[in-house]
């Protein structure tokens, strides 16, 4: 799925820079526990769906090698988070939907679970 489709499905807002041609999401993993996120295997084209919006969300993605973060429930990311994400080529999207709703919409659109 490309970025335009993703933003449309999630009524999402892209808050970082994004190489639109290169962007692709195939799998999703939802968690608010950063230590949980840190246990998952390296996976390309994986989006982290999370209600946790702070600097450690971005750090965790950086260490876990995750390049897409979807922040749910209308939570806003801070300028610090956005610049840290951009430094690490991480794309951040905000959506008004809950984690459950976001996951369901993406699943129905063919995005696969990690487990």
């Amino acid at each position: 799925m490309n970025i335009d489709q993703l933003l449309e499905i999630l009524k999402g807002e892209l808050v970082t820079e994004c190489e639109k041609e290169e962007f692709c999401i195939e799998r999703g993993f939802a968690s608010d526990l950063m230590s949980d996120v840190l246990t998952i295997p390296s996976t390309d084209k994986l989006a982290l769906i999370t209600g946790l919006s702070n600097l450690q969300t971005i750090r965790t993605a950086e260490m876990a090698g995750i390049n897409i973060i979807i922040i749910v429930r209308g939570k806003k990311s801070t300028p610090d988070m956005i610049s840290l994400a951009e430094d690490n080529d991480i794309v951040v999207i905000e959506t008004p939907y809950s984690a459950f709703h976001t996951s369901a919409l993406l699943f129905n659109a063919g995005i696969k679970p990690l487990f």
């Binding site: 608010d32 526990l33 950063m34 230590s35 949980d36 840190l38 246990t39 390296s42 946790l52 702070n54 600097l55 450690q56 969300t57 750090r59 965790t60 950086e62 260490m63 876990a64 090698g65 610090d80």
Partner: protein, 137 residues
Amino acid sequence: MHFEYHVESGDFINAGSTSSAVKKTLKQLNVDSSIIKRTVVALYEAEVNIVAHAYKGTIYVDIDQEAITIRLVDEGPGIPDIDKAMEMGYSTASPSVREMGFGAGMGLPNIKNNTDRMSITSKVGVGTTVEIYNKLQ
């Protein structure tokens, strides 16, 4: 190569900056990406543990051709029962640490899973030292 970094309790702004710096260094050295990931995940867990559970600490990083050795030495409350702390799900994290997305009791087991060798020594009321070792090839 030798590096040293300082870590302060409760500093969830800078937590992870050591792991980030080490990641950049290992990338520059063209280390295999799966080894980089294992190493920085383990280091990040240990770094966050100082921020979350100790008062302050120093991280010593040594890199040579063969391996990376990281020692995280903190001043803090120490760990009374290391075997128990290593158990999946055991956590004494405060509510403010949990709010930051940590405190699942998964960090120490995850360090073990992502390293070739790890060791913990601790003295109650003094502090904790975690040592992490990964081969680089």
